[in-house]
Assembly symmetry: C2
Homo-oligomer: 492 residues x 2
């Protein structure tokens, strides 16, 4: 390590430490903060954000970075650290501070307007805020990528290294595979049982904690709490916090949230110790993260092997389920239906919900669609993809928080993550043939160790494409995902 690189790294460690403070402020906001703490919390977040910006957007950081870049040769971690720094520095330098501030202010305002508009199912009330958000995001994209594709700039906020063309190709292949499959499965109608009754929350909590422990999530380096919307908060590999939520009438909701969030959490706990405390000491990209959460939630958690293990536990926790065998549970958690709400969608139709949003974002950006026509376009696509039309905009175009908060270009990462999850699964099965038997015995230690070795430990040292290539020998490719979906839902 040269002195110039060491100086850069020291600065990056301070930046990352502030980022952890910011993470805790957010976690606490969602999990612990009393109602009266809101305005003071907003000021604390803003102040930490400014302090972070001051560390890596100034001329002095530019000089540190120039000096570190001038030193050659370097190992792959050093190269990745410098690459990350250059990208972050340029990103922060390119967007005018006034625009950054306006975006932050508008995101907060627009979020409030969206909450109210959704409650009243009143798209017209949200439209001006949405239009302004797209306009501000367009200006941000122009600053970030002055001569390139504007959607690229949005996408790369979440999926560095991936172009819009690549994402569009992947999503189109997935659409082409999923749409006819979904159509034929939906036409057959659901054959799965629906569980009803009361599922006491205490018992759900015990099962949730058991599930994350059994997966290998280390509760001495993390927590599991309750929040209105499940999420995973990363404060370093030694402090990873999962949240879930409980509904007394839904037996599976909290369990699958736990599996999903613990999938994210295992990723963060598995980052190599030497990356911890640096900007590379975290998951690589949003798609890579989603590949982990979906792998544990769906591929492991919605498998027949999983339900061999979990059926007796459900019988004990919820005696009214005692008549159901593993195959009944398996069918119940893989029940397919055309529904309006993305976050409640089943594994099969989920991808179609996401693809619809990606198509609309691009149409809006290209001027092929005006914000005012969005509800109509949404409903038309729902009809085309899923054969249903939402009864109102609250269950249609107003359902997601993303656009209100400026998270445009985020959606594609969900379904690309799904595709990656199956590529990794196939590669892991090949390398460790005992995984499926392990799932029946609880957890999947061989799967986890393979993932740690090939994905988790690498942190943010590569792009999704680089990590997938090293782990599977090929580029990101939806074939494994489509094979899995076709086999599973063809048979069900």
């Amino acid at each position: 390590m040269t002195p110039a690189y060491r100086a850069l790294l020291d600065r990056l460690r301070s930046f990352t430490a502030l980022n952890k403070a910011e993470g805790l402020l957010s976690w606490d906001h969602a999990v612990m903060m009393p109602p009266g703490g809101g305005s003071s919390r907003a000021e604390a977040c803003a102040a930490v954000g400014s302090a972070m910006h001051a560390l890596i957007a100034g001329e002095d950081f530019g000089r540190l970075l120039d000096a570190a870049e001038a030193d050659n040769p370097r190992g792959p971690v050093e190269a990745a650290m410098i690459r990350w720094s250059r990208r972050e520095f340029e990103r922060r330098r390119r967007v005018p501070p006034a625009l950054v501030e306006e975006l932050a202010r508008h995101a907060s305002l627009s979020h409030g307007i969206w909450v109210e508009a959704r409650a009243k199912s009143d798209f017209a009330a949200f439209r001006p805020a949405l239009e302004k958000m797209f306009e501000l995001k367009r200006r941000q994209a122009e600053a970030l990528a002055p001569s390139g594709d504007l959607y690229d700039a949005w996408l790369q906020e979440f999926e560095p290294g991936m172009t819009t063309g690549e994402a569009a190709g992947l999503l189109e292949a997935i659409r082409a595979g999923l749409a006819p499959l979904a159509k034929s499965v939906l036409a057959r109608g659901p054959k799965a049982p629906v569980l009803s009754g009361r599922f006491p929350i205490d018992a759900q909590k015990r099962l949730g904690e058991l599930a994350v422990r059994e997966m290998g999530f280390d509760l001495s380096r993390g927590r599991l709490d309750t929040a209105a919307h499940p999420f995973c908060c990363f404060l370093g590999r030694g402090d990873v916090r999962l949240t879930t939520r409980y509904f007394e009438d839904l037996p599976f909701s909290s369990l699958y949230s736990c599996l999903h969030e613990a999938g994210h959490g295992l990723y963060e706990q598995g980052v190599a110790p030497e990356l911890d405390g640096t900007p590379l000491g975290t998951g690589a990209t949003m798609a890579m993260h989603e590949s982990q959460s979906r792998l544990w939630e769906n591929v492991v958690g919605r498998s027949r092997g999983f339900w061999k293990r979990w059926t007796p536990r459900f019988h004990e926790a919820f005696p009214q389920t005692r008549a159901l065998g593993p195959e009944n549970f398996y069918r119940a958690v893989n029940r397919v239906s055309a529904s309006c709400i993305r976050v409640e969608a089943d594994e099969l139709t989920y991808g179609l919900h996401v693809i619809l949003r990606f198509e609309l974002e691009r149409d809006l950006l290209a001027g092929r669609l005006r914000a005012g026509d969005l509800p109509e376009a949404w409903n038309a696509k729902m009809k085309a993809h899923l054969g249903i039309v939402p009864p109102d905009d609250a269950r249609g175009v107003l359902q997601d928080v993303h656009w209100a908060e400026g998270l445009i270009g985020y959606f594609p990462t969900y379904v690309i993550g799904n595709a990656i999850s199956l590529q990794l699964w196939e590669a892991a099965l090949k390398a460790r043939p005992g995984i499926e038997a392990e799932i029946e015995d609880g957890g999947a230690p061989s799967l986890l160790s393979w993932l740690v070795e090939n994905v988790h430990s690498r942190g943010k040292t590569g792009t999704a494409q680089e990590i997938v290539a090293a782990a599977t020998g090929g580029p990101i490719d939806p074939a494994a995902y489509l094979r899995y979906m076709t086999q599973k839902y063809g048979e069900l």
Copy 2:
């Protein structure tokens, strides 16, 4: 508000917001953090501390401050804000950064050494770390007060505006009053019942929450949680967090911790909204803070009126206490005994524990005492003040964390706070004669509103002397405290 003052205030608000982030990092460390989070948390605290320092120790802050000072005239809040800023700026400028860093590093190291030495009751193992701490603190004091009394510099870290001479005068008067009283009460021997058995923690939790609510602590602007050592964390007037701890064999410990910490908490919740988010939006000094916690814990909570209200609640929560009447409870919670441990001491002997520490700190500073002779000096003073000698150093000179962490000059504020609490109590009773009757009915809303008006709302706009003078019409004076102690314990 002039533009120069506005610019200063903006900076101070950012500083305060970072201070809240730092507060949350500490609260979470004590209440929520999983064991694995320690090293990453230390880095986050250090990074936020550096960011705070950068905001108010640089040349640019000096210029903001000069410009704001040059503007005249100003109101009392503006004057106090500028006074705080000048003091903090000079303090940070005077102590060399290398010494600040060495002190922080040594405090952390010395804390670890103290934990082990206390566990083994091995003073010799702690002595070198203690000597180095006093040496570093001496250098810090020399930098802070190059021509003045070094103890002043220590004391004023916690009690701005108070001189060592003032503190020594107050403590000597308190010692002269308490020592003979304690001697005669201890000679009579305890006449109070000791409650034994199992006091389920669930019931203790319900009672603790009821107690803080009834005092007027607003749980929509605060929380009550469990921690190894009770404390109160201030994240703004809208987010004040109390902690307590529970022992199944001690019926009063958690309740009185709740009252004590909620006394601190009410102070912070009562700060004027216009001071919130600034350095003045918090309690004035340590002594003022302790006056609030002790007022609620002891004067209100250990009164006959309180036990008229609480006896039926204890009967219900802990059926084994049903034979005890209010007078029995009153005597049980005011039981006096000579004991070794300060934090377990009764109201009467507590002050003597504190005074002993203040005397030793000053003897060490003056060179009248060497660190090696500290255990012997400690034990001699315990014998003189309380008539007992600790069986080992763990229960003697090693019991407190303060010196290990560099909190030298802190102890006197505890007992000065006691004295202030009774001055305020007498003044409040005069202004609102119904207070004692209210306590029997639960809470003491007239006391609280008087405190909010005369103490809480003022935040840090004055020193303890200034606030006491405005609230009571006189200087800090232990007479009310000694009257109360003499009457209460003479009669008991």
